[in-house]
């Protein structure tokens, strides 16, 4: 089904999440259109990861609604999120270190033979195909992923996310553990996925990354959205002002977290 240009792929409405007395996410609203990259910026602890974990099903929201392609979605665990085509690449990569690349790729969605046993050969064969597209230099399919380099582990994590027809991709600090060359590779990949019509949330605290890759940015502070705006309408200094001071510039739409500016 093709989402029309006016229906957002994802719409988060008034999401709140609290841990005890601490409001990690406070009435945050955010949307994402097909083929768009939205950068989510903010300090450590601003609530970026928490907001996104609500979407990926890792945390259960206290309040608010999630709409996928205009329909209200029920997301209570990671499995639900995957059902809606939401795939997440976590900052920690979230790989099972002791098993090999193919097993990680299919973790939770194993291919079974007709007797209900694991079809490792089929999984390895598929893994070889995906990896040939993503990272042609990758050959270590039999080794536990803990023995792989940071870039190789990242390719496994990305392969896992895109292999299952993801429509919404969440990348939490995808380049944090990578060298410059691998960072460039991830950038290329994001552009490729974007051209395929996939919507991407890119979480980062590297403002340069976000300006290079994102179409829009959203800035969070103290669990609230300070503002959202198109990258072309904002300067890096203005975005820094949003991150640090919570001041929403004229080029952006202010959110509940914006400091009243005079």
């Amino acid at each position: 089904m093709e989402a029309s240009g006016n229906t957002p792929l994802v719409e988060l409405k008034d999401i709140s999440l609290a841990f005890g007395g601490l409001k990690a996410v406070d009435r945050a609203s955010l949307d994402l259109y097909p083929g768009e990259v939205v950068g989510l910026l903010g300090h450590n602890g601003a609530g970026k990861s928490c907001l996104i974990k609500v979407l990926s099903g890792a945390y259960k929201r206290d309040e608010g609604h999630i709409f996928i392609k205009g329909q209200e979605a029920t997301i209570n665990n990671p499995r639900d999120a995957k059902h809606y085509g939401i795939e997440t690449i976590y900052q920690t990569l979230a790989l099972a270190d002791n098993v090999d690349a193919a097993s990680n790729l299919y973790l939770g969605r194993e291919i079974l033979t007709k007797w209900g046993t694991l079809d490792d050969s089929a999984m390895e064969s598929q893994a070889r195909k995906v990896m040939a597209r993503l990272n042609p230099n990758f050959h270590r399919f039999k080794d536990p992923v803990i023995t792989l380099s940071g870039g190789q582990r990242q390719s496994v994590a990305i392969a896992r996310a895109i292999h299952f027809n993801a429509q919404i991709l969440i990348m939490d600090e995808p380049t944090a553990a990578l060298g410059p060359q691998e960072t460039a590779q991830v950038g290329e990949l994001i552009m490729q996925l974007k051209s395929e019509g996939i919507g991407i949330f890119l979480i980062s605290h590297d403002i340069h990354d976000v300006f290079d890759l994102a179409d829009r940015v959203a800035v969070m502070k103290n669990g609230q959205i300070v503002g959202t705006g198109r990258v072309g309408d904002l300067t890096k200094d203005e975005v820094l002002g949003m991150i640090i001071l919570g001041k929403c510039p004229p080029g952006a739409t202010p959110g509940p977290g914006a400091v009243a500016s005079n």
Binding site: A58, A94, L95, A96, N98, G116, L118, S121
Partner: protein, 441 residues
């Protein structure tokens, strides 16, 4: 395709022969190490008895047959302990579960069932066996639920469980020994009658060989289908030859152990067989508990490597957070793993009480320690995520070999425990050293 295919058996001709052999056959080097240690223990004890007693006592059909029977109980439980430890948990209660199950079995088949079914009813052994397994599994499920859903550390849950079930076992029997058990049930303990004899043993050995060859062939065909690198043909043949040699060798050994003279004489008298000069030679063959342990090993290996459940156990052990994020219900997996452990403790409870032909509340005391030791010696890492079933079985055989060897040599039991303790620490120390080196290299 490029020449740098991964995982392939690309051995350059310059390598030493052994390394080339290992790489081509893809045999785990750790397993070679364990089998080497086992061989060393066996040959060492044999040589010692040759020197001291004038005749070798260890590598005899009789001793090896007994060794296998003695290993089976710990071996069965070690298979379950592998999965528990792979999930970063521990189970200190298996010995107590074993004891409790045995008292339940004893009371049921000696005091309760004969009232309703009469003595010697053929249903008794089946009912009590199923009851024993069910009780073990239920206790395991309870422990697993406490660990998974209430978040109490497994160490504490199973430590409490150990005290609780050991105490319960005493309550069930009020400290008495319950004997004798049902004759059919007692066959699970082994002994001349609880063994399958020569013909069935050779048949099993033959079937094992056929199974090995078929397994290798199916694996090769799968690799061909997906264009994966193949092992060289000579490597496949070597593996098949070693497998068949072990299967037939073991069968030959157990068939070379005759029934004890008096048992054979009784049997001859009952069946009107004329005892020839030099006594009647009735081959014993594989004992039923040994076959049960092998069966458990095969089923558990299948579960650990070929099913979703097994994959999830290893993945959760390697990175619990990643497993949850991948949508795996790790709590349910934890409950299942402990349930399986309880079930296997129930199996061992049946084997041991059948072997002693009696049930007591102290059965299996301290056995959890030997089970954990066997598992860890067999290469299972306490950090989680790593461990094999066959390793645990070999580990159990190593520990039992040490113990029964020292008994043969007439060592004090205090000294035996000291040696097993040193071997446990030494084996894990060596393993840690090896791992830290191979991780860097």
């Amino acid at each position: 395709m490029s020449s740098a295919t991964s995982g392939a058996a690309v051995a350059s001709p310059g390598d030493p022969l052994i390394r080339r052999l290992l790489r081509a056959t893809e045999i785990d080097t750790r397993m070679i190490g364990m089998i080497g240690a086992l061989a060393l223990i066996w040959v060492g004890f044999h040589a010692y008895t040759v020197i001291v007693n004038g005749e070798g006592l260890f590598l005899t059909p009789r001793n090896l047959w007994n060794l296998l029977v003695q290993t089976s109980s710990v071996g069965v439980m070690a298979c379950g302990m592998v999965l528990v430890i792979v999930m970063r948990h521990i189970d200190l209660s298996v010995g107590a579960i074993l004891g409790f199950v045995s008292t339940i079995i004893g009371v049921t088949q000696v005091h309760i069932l004969p009232q309703y079914l009469g003595l010697d009813n053929p249903a008794i052994w089946i009912i009590t066996l199923l009851l024993g397994l069910a009780v073990g599994a239920a206790i395991g499920a309870l422990h697993g639920s406490l660990v998974a859903y209430l978040g109490i550390p497994a160490f504490i849950v199973t430590l409490g469980g150990q005290l609780f079930w050991r105490g319960s076992a005493w309550l069930v029997t009020t400290g008495q020994t319950i004997a004798p058990l049902d004759d059919r049930f007692a066959l699970m303990g082994g002994g001349p009658l609880g063994s399958i004899g020569a013909v069935a043993s050779w048949t099993l050995g033959g079937l094992a060989c056929i199974g090995i060859v078929i397994g290798l062939y199916a694996g090769r065909r799968r690799r061909v289908r997906y264009n994966f690198p193949l092992r060289p043909m000579w490597a496949e043949a070597t593996i098949a030859a070693i497998g068949c040699f072990v299967a037939f060798g073991a069968t030959w050994v157990v068939n070379d152990y005759p029934w004890p003279e008096r048992v054979a004489a009784n049997y001859a008298a009952q069946h009107n067989i004329v005892v020839p000069e030099g006594g009647l030679f009735i081959p014993t063959g594989y004992a039923i508990p040994v076959l049960m342990a092998l069966g458990v090993g095969i089923v558990m290996t299948f579960m650990a490597t070929r099913t979703r459940f097994g994959r999830y156990v290893y993945a959760s052990g390697g990175n619990p957070e990643a497993a949850v994020l991948a949508g795996i219900n790790t709590k349910m997996i934890t409950v299942l793993v402990f349930t399986l452990m309880g079930l296997l403790a129930g199996v061992s409870g049946c084997i041991e009480s059948a072997r002693l032909d009696s049930a007591t509340n102290v059965l299996g005391q301290f056995e959890e320690l030997y089970v954990i030791a066997a598992t860890v010696i067999g290469g299972t890492s306490l950090m989680g995520g790593v461990g094999t079933i066959y390793g645990a079985l070999i580990g159990a055989l190593v520990i039992q070999s040490l113990q029964s060897g020292m008994v043969l040599l007439g060592f004090d039991s205090a000294f035996q425990e000291m040696v097993v303790g040193v071997v446990l620490v030494g084996a894990v120390g060596l393993d840690t050293f090896y791992r830290s080196r191979s991780a860097k290299g």
